[in-house]
Symmetry: C2
Subunit: 480 residues, 2 copies
Amino acid sequence: MGCPGLQCPGLWKHPKDKSRNYNTIEYWTNLAKTLERGKFNALFIADVLGGYDVFNGPQNLTAAAKSGAQWPINEPSAVVSAMAAVTKNLSFAITFSTISEAPYHFARRLATLDHLTNGRVGWNVVSSYLDSAARNLLNNQPLPPHTERYERAQEYIEIIYDLFLSSWSDDAIKVDPKTGVFADAERIRQINYEGKHFNVPGPSITEPTPQRLPVILQAGTSKQGTEFAARNAEAVFVNDATPEGLGIKIKGFKDLIKQQGRSDKDVKFLQLITVVLGDTHEEAIEKLQEYKSYSDLDGAQALFGGWTGIDIGQYGWDQELKHVESNAVRGFVEKWTKVLPGESGDIKKTREFVANQISIGGFGSVFYGTPKEVADEIERWVDISDLDGFNITYTITPGAFEEVVDKLIPELRSRGLVWDDYPKDGITFREQIFGTEGEDPTYLRSTHPAYELRWKAGESKEELEERIQSIKQERFNIAI
Amino acid sequence: MGCPGLQCPGLWKHPKDKSRNYNTIEYWTNLAKTLERGKFNALFIADVLGGYDVFNGPQNLTAAAKSGAQWPINEPSAVVSAMAAVTKNLSFAITFSTISEAPYHFARRLATLDHLTNGRVGWNVVSSYLDSAARNLLNNQPLPPHTERYERAQEYIEIIYDLFLSSWSDDAIKVDPKTGVFADAERIRQINYEGKHFNVPGPSITEPTPQRLPVILQAGTSKQGTEFAARNAEAVFVNDATPEGLGIKIKGFKDLIKQQGRSDKDVKFLQLITVVLGDTHEEAIEKLQEYKSYSDLDGAQALFGGWTGIDIGQYGWDQELKHVESNAVRGFVEKWTKVLPGESGDIKKTREFVANQISIGGFGSVFYGTPKEVADEIERWVDISDLDGFNITYTITPGAFEEVVDKLIPELRSRGLVWDDYPKDGITFREQIFGTEGEDPTYLRSTHPAYELRWKAGESKEELEERIQSIKQERFNIAI
C-alpha cells in the first residue's frame, strides 16, 4: 500500500523499517526486484481513498495520522510502470474502487497498465467501505448503502468486460502501411451499456490488451461480496484465524462458484499472513515481541474503527459492545457484532484482539518461527483448508520481504511447495495463476461469465452481438 | 501523446517511425533519455479521452481509426514513473481534464506524481472539447456548454489549490520515532470547499509534495480559456501562424495577466512547432515532402473536425462554410467561422489548410531547413513575438527528436539560446521554468493567486484561515 503503515501501524518507528520512503520510486523498484528474485507471482498494492477517522470520532484522524495507519496514502497504480521496467515476470495486482471514478476513465487506466506491463496486471475490485472516501468523492454524500454499492459494482465490472472484450475485435488492429489502415473501424463497435447507474456508449478508446482482460481479484466477505466474487473473481483474498475455519469458508465459496456455473478450479484462494522468521524458535518470538514494542495501539484502534465502523474509544472498560448499523466492511461488522455482543467482558476481548492481533498483522494471521516451522505451518494450512496461496504482508519493509525470499522460499522450494523459477520469461499474470498450458493461457478460463464476450478475429459483428445477447441473459441475470 | 498519430496523422506508415510502440514502456523511457540528453526542460504528454468522430459523422470514427489520428490512446500519466526512474532532471507535463474525474481523486494522482518524480511534474489544465469524451464519462450526456466547463474548471482548480496548499502545513509530517508521531493531525485541516459544482470537505489524503503544487500549464484560446490561463497558469501553450500574430497574442495575454494582479514575468509562453532538419536546405525540403507523402488526409480532416466541430465531409467543393454552433475548441471555431465564411472558395481554402497544414504539423507551424536556418527562424520568432520557448512535436518518432537533440540543440547552444546543462541535478519543474534562484524557487511566484494559500510551518490554523479568507475574496471573485 502506498502508505507508511499497512497492517502493522507504528512499525515505521523501527530502526530498520523503510516504509517512510513509500513516496519514492526506489522503494517500489527495490521491492519489485526482491520479489522477482524470490520468484513471487505478484506484488499486490491495496488501497483506500479516505482516512480511518471512526476511532474517537466521528471524523477524527488523530490516531491514524499519528500512527501513520494507512495515512497518508498515494495512488497505487502510478508506481507500476517503474516496477515493470525493472522486472520481467513479476505481476502487479492493484486495488481500484468502483466508487472512485467513471468506468470509462478507469477502463483506460487499467488497459494502459496491461499494455505497459505486457499482461502483468490484475484488478482487485472493491466497492469501498470508508465514509471518509465517499464524502470527498461524491460531493460530501455518505457512502451508498451496501446493497447499492454491489449493484453499482456489478454494473461497473460489466462495463469493463464490454469495453475490454466486445468493443474491439482481436483483428481490429492492422498497422498495415500498404493499405494505410492502422485500425479498422468496422472491427470496433459501441457497447451501448445502459444500466440503472451507468450509461456508457463506448467504444473503448484503447486497443485490445495483452491479457484481453486483466486478472480479476476480489476480497468481499459479506454475502453480497462473496456472491460478487463467486461470479466475477479469478482469485479471492480470504481470511480466517484457523485453517479449519478457512477450509469451511473456501468450501462454501466453491459451492457458490459452482452455483454460478463456473468450475471451482477457476478461482484461486489466498490467505493474508504476516511472517516473522528467526534462526531459532526463540529468536522468532523475541523478534515478534520486539516488533510489537513498536506497534501503535491507537493506530490499531483506528484501523479497527475503519473496518468495522465501531468506535471503541466510546466504550468504558466494562461495557457491552452494541450492534452497529455500519456501512463498513460488512463481513467484519457481522462477525464482530454477532460473536461478541452480550458476552461478558466483550469490550475487553475486543481490546485484546485489537492489541494482540490488529496491532501486529492487521487483518491476517502471524506465522512466526524458524523457516522450517513457518513452512510446516504453511503446509498445514494448505492441507487442511485447500488454500492456493498466500498474500504476505510485512512487519518492517523491505526487511520482512528480504527474509521471506532469502530464508523461507528456499525451505518451501526444497519441499516442492513453490516453483524453482518462472516457467518462461514474460509470463502474464493469468499464466502465473492458471499455468502456461492450453490454447490461450493468457485469457479467461472458459467458465468465467465474461469468457464468451470476446470479439474474435474473423467473427462478424452480428455473430458477436447475437452471442453476447444470449450470454448476458444467461449469466448476468442471476439475481444480485 | 499515448497514441500512434499526434499532429501528423498517417506517419506511422513511415519506415523509420516507431510510434506504433506507444503502448510499451521502452518507447517512453527511450524518449525521456533522448530529451534529457538534449537538456530539455520537459516532456509534455497531451491527451483526449474520446475519438475524433465529427468528420463524415456524426459519431463516425472511420477516419481516425484508419489513420491512427489520436486513436487509440492510452492514459498519459501511467508512463511517468518509468521515465522518472531513468532520468534525473527532465520534467513531465501531463494533460488532465477537469471533466474526467472527481477533483479529490485527481488530486491524489497528481500529488503521487509530484512525490515519485521529486517535483518534476506539471498539470496542463483542460476543460475538454470532444462530445465523444463527455458521452462516455458523463452517462451519455453531451459536453457541458463552454461557459459551464470553465466555471467547473475554476472550481476544480481551486479545490486542487486548497488540497495541496491549505490542508497540510509544511510541518505536518514529523516522522519522529521518539514521540511516535508520523503526522500531526493538528497540522492537517479540512478544506470544506463548497462550490456550485463541487463539494469537497477534505482533508488531503497525501502529504505536502516536493513542489507544494505541480506547475500549472494551460492552452486555452477562447476568451474564457485565456482568462482562466491569465489567472491560473504558469506556462501557456500558444499558437499562431506568424511571429507577428503571436506577438500580438502574447501582448494581449500579458495585459490580461496584469489585470489579474500578476506579474507578466510569472507566465511563460510556448509555441507549438514541428521541426524538419536537413544537412542542406534542399534536403530538408525533400524530407518534408517525403513525410507529407505518408500523411493521411482523412486523418487530418478528422482532427480538424474534432477541433472545430466542423464536418468538412458534409460540404461540396464550392460551398460556403457555415457558422457552426460548436462546443469544440472555441478559439479554433471562432477563428475558422469568423475569418472564412462568405469568402469565395472558403471550402477550398479550408481543404487546402487541412491538407497542407494539419496533415503535417497539426495545430502548429513547421520549421524546416538546415540547423542554422531553423535556429534563425527560432531566433526570429522569439525576437518578434517575445516568446519564451517551444513545444516541439514530431513528424516521425523518435527520429525527429533525435535530430533536434543531435543537430538543432548544438546550433542553438552555440548561440547561447539554450543552456549547456541543467544548473543542478534533481531540478524541479518550476525551477526549470523560473530558475533556481530566490528563497523558495520550487514554489509558486508570489503574484500567483494561490501563492498565499500555503499553510506555513509554525503558522496557526487560525492565522491561515484568516489569511485565506481575505485572499479568496480578493483574488478569486474576479468575475469568470
